[in-house]
């Protein structure tokens, strides 16, 4: 706690009145956080300041003002804070579920570590927790990017599958729904075309979940690529496409 300084009391009064310039007001506000005496003085003076304001209550506005205000609020009557329900796309829901799963995993890990009290395991768990935390942060970033209003969205429709390639700043994602599982021993592989290049570069491999949902961050600077493609490749991925692309999408 700060030492009380009587000379601050006058400043506290001027602060309560709202007559301190911003810099001094900030200093007094900070002082009040740590000085009980001055905080009590402020609390004591505040009713008087409010009374000064209340003394002005001697006239009333036009009745039309009330009508004007009520007219403005009535269209919103019955609304809760979330004015429009946010309909999350399936891939965003999947991503959110993944976050929940990760959080649950962290909780389980934490419980186990407490029970075992094994230093070695704790160290391992700590490392794992850090990794999960990093992954969780990535997932949060992905969700934020996927729903950001200023993201660029490139629709994808291929067979029964649909989705989007979403670019937000330097990050880019493939977000697919109803994507069929690849044949046994196969995976989907993303490909990127660097701006100015003539051949696609291999990128990450992935498989959709049981609902056909796949949200795949592509580890590339999105600002430097001009096209994205996906093809079915042998498990482990390929250096060159070995099948007809599932889709090819120009980012323009």
């Amino acid at each position: 706690m700060n030492a009380h300084d009587d000379s601050m009391l006058d400043s506290v009064a001027v602060y309560a009145l709202g007559a301190l310039p911003p810099a001094e007001a900030n200093a007094v506000r900070a002082h009040l956080e740590t000085c009980a005496e001055c905080r009590e003085e402020y609390r004591q003076l505040l009713p008087a300041v409010s009374a000064v304001g209340a003394s002005a209550e001697d006239s009333e506005p036009s009745p039309l003002l009330k009508k004007r205000i009520m007219r403005q609020i009535r269209p919103n009557v019955g609304e809760m804070k979330a004015v429009r329900p946010i309909v999350w796309p399936a891939y965003a829901v999947a991503a959110a579920c993944l976050v929940v799963a990760l959080v649950t995993g962290i909780m389980n890990i934490s419980l186990n570590s407490e029970l075992r009290q094994n230093q070695t395991q704790l160290a391992q768990l700590s490392a794992h927790s850090a990794q999960v935390t990093r992954e969780l942060a990535l997932q949060r970033t992905a969700i934020a990017d996927l729903v950001a209003p200023d993201s660029q969205r490139f629709p994808v429709q291929t067979g029964e599958a649909n989705g989007e390639v979403v670019r937000h700043g330097s990050r880019i994602y493939i977000a697919m729904n109803a994507l069929p599982a690849p044949p046994k021993g196969k995976v989907y592989q993303a490909w990127t075309l660097r701006t100015g290049a003539s051949t696609m570069s291999p990128s990450v491999t992935f498989v959709p979940n049981g609902n056909g949902v796949a949200v795949v961050p592509i580890p590339v600077n999105a600002k430097q690529i001009s096209a994205v493609a996906v093809s079915v490749e042998p498990d482990g991925g390929s250096k060159q496409p070995t099948s007809k692309p599932t889709f090819v999408l120009k980012l323009s």
């Binding site: 009391l9 006058d10 400043s11 506290v12 009064a13 001027v14 602060y15 309560a16 009145l17 709202g18 007559a19 301190l20 310039p21 911003p22 007001a25 506000r29 905080r39 402020y42 609390r43 004591q44 003076l45 505040l46 009713p47 008087a48 300041v49 409010s50 009374a51 000064v52 304001g53 209340a54 003394s55 002005a56 209550e57 001697d58 006239s59 009333e60 506005p61 036009s62 003002l65 009330k66 004007r68 205000i69 009520m70 403005q72 609020i73 009535r74 919103n76 009557v77 019955g78 609304e79 809760m80």
Partner: protein, 176 residues
């Protein structure tokens, strides 16, 4: 005056009737502060409208404590926004409520504006002038010193003395 906490709970539940009752109870207070500060009926009504629409759109801004004291500060700060647009120097009131303000709760429940005005009139003129100019004029203590030709330290001391005297007067009016 209806219980503001109950009305605000209704406003949070998007109850227009609760909002209307809140407006009926506090519009004179908001309008009075704005009119005193701006001296213009239309501008004061605009501030009043802005304050109540803000309460409707963001009812969670008011957490707890004395609603009248809180809405006075909101009204003053919105009126200062208008004064600022005229390129003058003004300072805002802290809008956050202190955790504990029992006197204020009781005072506002029991004292009407006329009695408050009477208490303010009882202040020594040099204290009343500084307090009213500081609150309704929205000017800094330095500007107060310049305008009244009073040393800065004296301005601050007079403000504190006046507020303490006013508080004592309020305590004398409160019946519990």
């Amino acid at each position: 005056m209806e219980d503001a906490d109950r009305l605000m709970a209704g406003v949070r539940a998007r109850n227009a009737a609760a909002f209307e009752a809140l407006y009926d109870a506090y519009n004179r207070l908001v309008y009075g502060v704005a009119l005193r500060m701006l001296g213009d009926v239309a501008a004061a009504e605009d501030v009043t409208q802005a304050v109540f629409l803000k309460i409707w759109s963001s009812p969670d801004l008011f957490v707890s404590g004395n609603f009248a004291g809180w809405i006075v500060r909101i009204a003053r700060n919105r009126a200062l926004d208008v004064l600022r647009s005229k390129s003058r120097t003004h300072v805002e009131l802290p809008e956050q409520q202190p955790d504990d303000e029992p006197l204020e709760d009781r005072a506002f429940a029991a004292i009407d504006a006329a009695r408050v005005r009477s208490a303010i009139k009882q202040l020594p003129p040099e204290q009343r002038e500084l307090i009213e100019m500081g609150f309704f004029g929205g000017v800094t203590h330095e500007e107060l010193a310049r305008r009244t030709g009073t040393p800065l330290g004296t301005v601050k001391t007079r403000i504190r003395s006046g507020l303490r005297r006013l508080r004592s007067a309020l305590e004398g009016m409160v019946t519990v």
